[in-house]
Structures are given as structure tokens and as C-alpha cells.
């Protein structure tokens, strides 16, 4: 008879999982004991947070639930940041944690933590398994819930004794949701949408990650071509709108383009397609799109009217509702918005607004690097200034080509997530853009990249500061750079070498027109072409800033375009 542990692996296999990420410990030894022969590849990271971020990267690149495994107590608590991250960014994730033996639960046993209770507000669903027999049903339910509707993280906590126990393998029952998917519109509001379009003078479309998660990029672009209205995207919506479209204004939000933020402030009709409208997108919610009626296409009803009350909500999978929108325009004469489009997308507003600030070498460097990436490649970022520069310069039509921790903003995400992406898409080029602060939060995962010889390319934009915090301190706290100085960083090239990974360094060259050394192109070509992990440090001016910037709590129209 199989053990509970063997049943876990069999269930994962049955769900189509070929790769999991984890870190062994006392409560999950039985699980690891049964790994051999399961047909599943286990990626040993060097920290549980590395495992959960790698599982997130894998999930984002594969479009299936990623699996992270940790032991009880500290192993489980180290997953928490990744679980919160997956919740915010709608990433399907199944976390499996070992728990102390059933008869020790509640006794404050060694490495006992109530991880079920700890993660209740973060998970979409969770279970503390009470019998070995229920493992198949619980795991089937876990995957169905993680991947269904608006995707998210789930947690399954299994006491060690249940992993060791042997039972007859029950046939898992089909998962039946306790109620139908919430609140899809009974009938599509074609007439209302047409009336709103007819009365609008300055319509704008805002595209979020929901479009990509639904696999609705093509139909979205079909719709946008038909509407032909100024269009912007959130950081997670990047890649969903064709970059060549004359109506596309780039990214919106705190570090969005001048064109996008200005148009959102002026619009009188805002279509939101699969975006949460979080505060990094809206600026001051009370002054967000102040004159707009909002039409919100969204799968998750809990996201409606959260920031601003909408005029119309179209609830459902965008793969269903967007085709209905396209169909509803058959025979309808979409008003001509060309005059508004010319203003909103015109050259005057198109300038990024980087002004004369010292970020230009970093921006030019990223342009040089991104131009060398194949079209269907992945750029994974950490969190901070480099993340926003990368988002601003991202220039690909590959819908999943930009992967970042957007909602939670978890420093340390980049490197392990890039490892997960590379394992999910081994044939694709994967570039991790990190900062000198963020990379040190999970730098131990260089060992994982080396162990599996993954050709992940790690770029560290090194300004020897916690750059984004320093920028806020400069602009809003009178240059009081309290505890953001990282000038005593380790030598990252030597650090990479210690992990057996080649590293090199490039700085700015003030004697050239671009500010970049003459050999930049050769270095980048060599960096990207090697079939193994490699590190490149780009030494960035310490006080380079990200512009435009909407100060926290300000309206989008109050963006700063350059340093004063």
C-alpha cells in the first residue's frame, strides 16, 4: 500500500506537474523519502522563500499552478511572503507544508507553527489534512481552486504521520465548487456600452494582467483596433497591447508615461480590462480619472468599485466578455475619436519625461540590452528603481515577457523567479534585472542556478543605495538618506565567482555620447549568448532617479517629470 507521501507525488503527477520547488526538513522527510521514482523533478533552492518565488515564476511562465514545498515551523513561515505575493498578483500556487505529527498539534512542539491560521488572510483556500485518505481529494481541490476564476495561492498542511501512513489509494472525486462562479452578467450590456461610447468625448482603455491570464490578448487587440481609443497598460498588463498600435501610450501609474497619466486624468469614459486599480495605478483614488464614467471588465467581483464606483461592471472571464464586446459593435458606428487620440497620443505627451536626470545611462543601457533579447523572451525583475526603468523600457509584444512582483513589491523576487521561469521555459532566453539591494535578499539562489546550470542572465543595476527609497528620501524627506546607503556592498563579481558563476562589470563612460562604454554592445552580446548562468553588474550613477513620478497620495496629473 502506498504511503501518504507517495500519494502526494502521484496526485501532483496526475495534475500535470513535472517540477516542484522546495526545501526539506523534519516534517517532510517522508515526502522526500518517496520522491525518487515519482517522475517529478524537485528543485532544491537554498531558502524556502527562494522556492516559493521560483514556483511563482514557473507558474507565471507555464500558466499552471506552481508547487512549493516546505517543512513545518520556520520552513512554512518562510513561504508567507511568496504566498502574499501570489495573492496580490493572481498567481496560481499550491504550497505544501509538513506539519508536526497529529498528536503533537497544539502542544507548541518543536518546529510547530499554525501555518494554516497564519496564511488564512493570504490564501484563496487552505486545508490542514486530518487523514491520509483525504489527501487526493484535498490536492485535487487545491489545484482546481488555485487555477480557477481569479488565480491565487492555496496551502495544504500535512502532518508528518499522515505522510508516513499507508492506505489504499482512493480514487479522487471530481471537485465540484460549492457554488457556481460568482456573478457573471446574465446578459451582455451591449446597449449600455454603445450609449456610453456615443456620449463620450475622451474615452481611454486601461489594460491589466487579467487579459493575459484569460488568454484574451488577441481579442483585446481586435477590440482596441475597433475602438481606436487611447490605451494604456498596468505594469502587469505590459505586452498585452501591440506595441506598434498608434493608440498605445505605454504604462500608467506612479512611474507611467506622461501621455498615459495625463489621458487618464482627462478621460470621460474609462474602460478597465482585467485590472485591480490599485493605488500605484490610480494615485490619489479620490482624484483618479475625476470626470470619467468607469466600465470595469473583471472576473473577480470583489475588485469592483474598490477605488471608485463604476458606471457599469461586466463580470466574467475576459475570454467570454471581450468577444461579446467585439460582437456587440457589429453594425454599430463607433464614434470618431481621432481628434482626442491625436492629443492624447501626440508627440508632445509621448516624451517619457526623463528630463536631464542622471538615469539616462541606465535607460540607454537597458535599451541596448532589451534590443538584443529575442521577441519571445522573458524579462524578470526584482523591485525598485531598476524594476520601473525596465518596465518603462520593456518593448515586446510577448504577453508574458515581463514578470515582476507588482502588487506586493517583494524585494528578493527577481532571481528565484527567473530560475522558475527558466525551468518552465528552458528554450527561452531569461534575463533577470535586479538591484543591488534586492539581489542580496535571495542571492543564495545563485547556487540553484549553478546546480542546474540554468542559462539565466542576471543583471544587477548597482547604485550602491536602496535606490527607490533613497529617491523618496531625496524628493520628499530633504535628502535624509537614512539607512539606505549600501556602499559597502560585496563585490558581486567575486560573489558570483564564489558560486562558480562568471561575473563581469560595466560602468558608465562620461566621455561617450551615450554615457556607455564603447564595448557595451560586445559585452552584452557575449553576456546573452553564453549557455550558462552569468552575472553582469552595471554601475549606475548613485543618485539616478525614476521619472515621471507621481508622488504618493498625489493625483496622476501631478506627476513630476524631472528633478527640480
Amino acid at each position: 500500500m502506498p504511503t501518504g507521501a507517495a500519494i502526494v507525488w502521484a496526485c501532483l503527477k496526475a495534475e500535470g506537474i513535472d517540477t516542484v520547488f522546495g526545501y526539506p526538513g523534519g516534517a517532510v522527510i517522508p515526502l522526500y523519502d518517496a520522491l525518487d521514482g515519482s517522475g517529478i523533478r524537485h528543485i532544491l533552492t537554498r531558502h524556502e522563500q527562494g522556492a516559493v518565488f521560483a514556483a511563482e515564476g514557473w507558474a507565471r511562465a507555464r500558466g499552471k499552478a506552481g508547487v512549493a514545498i516546505a517543512t513545518s515551523g520556520p520552513g512554512a513561515t518562510n513561504l508567507v511572503t511568496g504566498i502574499a505575493d501570489a495573492r496580490m498578483d493572481s498567481v496560481p500556487l499550491v504550497c505544501i507544508t509538513g506539519q508536526v505529527r497529529s498528536n503533537l498539534i497544539g502542544t507548541d512542539a518543536f518546529q510547530e507553527t499554525d501555518i494554516f491560521g497564519l496564511t488564512l488572510p493570504l490564501t484563496k483556500w487552505s486545508r490542514l489534512v486530518r487523514t491520509t485518505e483525504e489527501i487526493p481529494d484535498v490536492l485535487r481541490q487545491a489545484f482546481a481552486i488555485a487555477e480557477g476564476g481569479r488565480p491565487g495561492p492555496v496551502l495544504v498542511d500535512i502532518p508528518a504521520d499522515l505522510l508516513k501512513a499507508t492506505v489504499e489509494v482512493p480514487v479522487p472525486g471530481k471537485y465540484v465548487p460549492s457554488r457556481p462562479a460568482a456573478g457573471a452578467n446574465a446578459s451582455f450590456p451591449s446597449a449600455a456600452l454603445q450609449a456610453l461610447l456615443q456620449s463620450a468625448k475622451k474615452p481611454v482603455a486601461l489594460v491589466g494582467a487579467g487579459v493575459k491570464l484569460a488568454g484574451a490578448k488577441d481579442v483585446l487587440n481586435q477590440l482596441l483596433d475597433r475602438l481606436n481609443i487611447p490605451t494604456t497598460a498596468t505594469v502587469h498588463g505590459l505586452g498585452a497591447v501591440q506595441k506598434e498600435a498608434p493608440y498605445f501610450m505605454g504604462m500608467v501609474g506612479m512611474h507611467g508615461t506622461r501621455a498615459s497619466n495625463t489621458a487618464l486624468h482627462e478621460t470621460d469614459l474609462l474602460f478597465v480590462f482585467g485590472a485591480r486599480l490599485d493605488d500605484r495605478v490610480t494615485g490619489d483614488p479620490a482624484r483618479f480619472a475625476p470626470d470619467a464614467r468607469i466600465v470595469h471588465f473583471e472576473i473577480d467581483p470583489s475588485q469592483l468599485d474598490r477605488v471608485r464606483r463604476g458606471e457599469l461592471a461586466v463580470v466574467g472571464d475576459l475570454n467570454d466578455t471581450l468577444p461579446q464586446f467585439v460582437q456587440s459593435l457589429d453594425g454599430f458606428a463607433v464614434p470618431d475619436f481621432s481628434a482626442w487620440r491625436t492629443v492624447a497620443c501626440g508627440p508632445e505627451r509621448a516624451a517619457l519625461g526623463t528630463g536631464t536626470n542622471t538615469a539616462l545611462p541606465a535607460i540607454r543601457f537597458l535599451d541596448e540590452l532589451f534590443a538584443r533579447m529575442p521577441e519571445q523572451s522573458y524579462i524578470v525583475t526584482d523591485v525598485g528603481q531598476h524594476q520601473m526603468w525596465a518596465a518603462q523600457r520593456f518593448n515586446s509584444n510577448f504577453p508574458f515577457g515581463f514578470i515582476t512582483s507588482g502588487g506586493l513589491g517583494s524585494m528578493g523576487f527577481g532571481l528565484p523567479a527567473a530560475i522558475g521561469v527558466q525551468l518552465a521555459q528552458p528554450e527561452r532566453k531569461v534575463l533577470c534585472v535586479s538591484g543591488d539591494g534586492g539581489v542580496q535578499m535571495n542571492v543564495q539562489e545563485l547556487a540553484t542556478a549553478k546546480r542546474f546550470n540554468l542559462p539565466v542572465k542576471l543583471l544587477i543595476v548597482d547604485n550602491k543605495y536602496l535606490g527607490m527609497v533613497r529617491q523618496w528620501q531625496q524628493l520628499f524627506y530633504d535628502r535624509n538618506y537614512a539607512e539606505t546607503d549600501l556602499s559597502d556592498n560585496p563585490d558581486f563579481v567575486m560573489l558570483a565567482q564564489a558560486y562558480g558563476i562568471k561575473g563581469r562589470r560595466l560602468g558608465i563612460d562620461p566621455t561617450t555620447e551615450t554615457g556607455l562604454p564603447a564595448n557595451t554592445g560586445d559585452v552584452l552580446n557575449d553576456f546573452l549568448s553564453s549557455p550558462e548562468p552569468e552575472l553582469l553588474v552595471f554601475e549606475c550613477p548613485p543618485e539616478a532617479n525614476v521619472f515621471p513620478m507621481v508622488p504618493s497620495g498625489a493625483a496622476l496629473s501631478e506627476m513630476l517629470l524631472e528633478e527640480k
Partner: protein, 101 residues
């Protein structure tokens, strides 16, 4: 103050997720009663909340996996009135107990 009533399956964590929807907003739960209701459970909550948060909570509850139904919230003037009205209406649990007896 609003009175909320939700039907839910009494699966692990569902009631806690319902309550955390309130507590994460720093709102005080003046009254909570959870009880069997037919083949499921129901919980009655009295919460002092601004209208915007009241609506947000209703939407959040509707997407919790095993929440079956969220009744329209009822505005009540104060706790005393709310408790008096609750006492006047036999709860589902009391109805069931009466039926058994």
C-alpha cells in the same frame, strides 16, 4: 451599524475568513453568532462600518470559496435595537432545536 447574514459551508477556515474580512479593516465586531442552518451554516454579524467598506466587505465575502450566500445588509440604529430585533427573530439553530423537541 449594519447587520450582515451569510450562509456558508462549515469547512476549515471559512468562518475565520469571513471574520477576517471585517477585522483586517480595523472594524469592531459588535456581535457574532454562527449556527447550523439547514444543510449549511449561517453567521450573523453586527458591524459599525462606513457604506463604502460595507459594500467592499459584501463583495469580499462573495468570493470566499465556501460562502454560499450573502444577504443584503440591514442598517440598524444601534446595538440595543439590533440585539432586540435578533432576539425577536428565532435563529435557525433555535428553530431546528424547537423542531427536534
Amino acid at each position: 451599524m449594519y447587520r450582515f447574514r451569510l450562509r456558508y459551508l462549515n469547512s476549515q477556515g471559512t468562518l475565520m475568513r469571513i471574520l477576517m474580512t471585517v477585522t483586517r479593516r480595523g472594524l469592531d465586531l459588535s456581535y457574532v453568532q454562527a449556527e447550523p442552518a439547514g444543510d449549511a451554516y449561517q453567521v450573523t454579524l453586527l458591524v459599525e462600518a462606513p457604506v463604502k467598506q460595507m459594500l467592499q466587505m459584501c463583495r469580499d465575502w462573495r468570493v470566499i470559496v465556501d460562502v454560499l450566500e450573502v444577504e443584503q445588509p440591514v442598517e440598524v440604529r444601534n446595538l440595543e435595537e439590533a440585539l432586540a430585533n435578533l432576539a425577536a427573530l428565532p435563529s435557525s439553530g433555535a428553530e431546528r432545536a424547537a423542531a427536534v423537541n
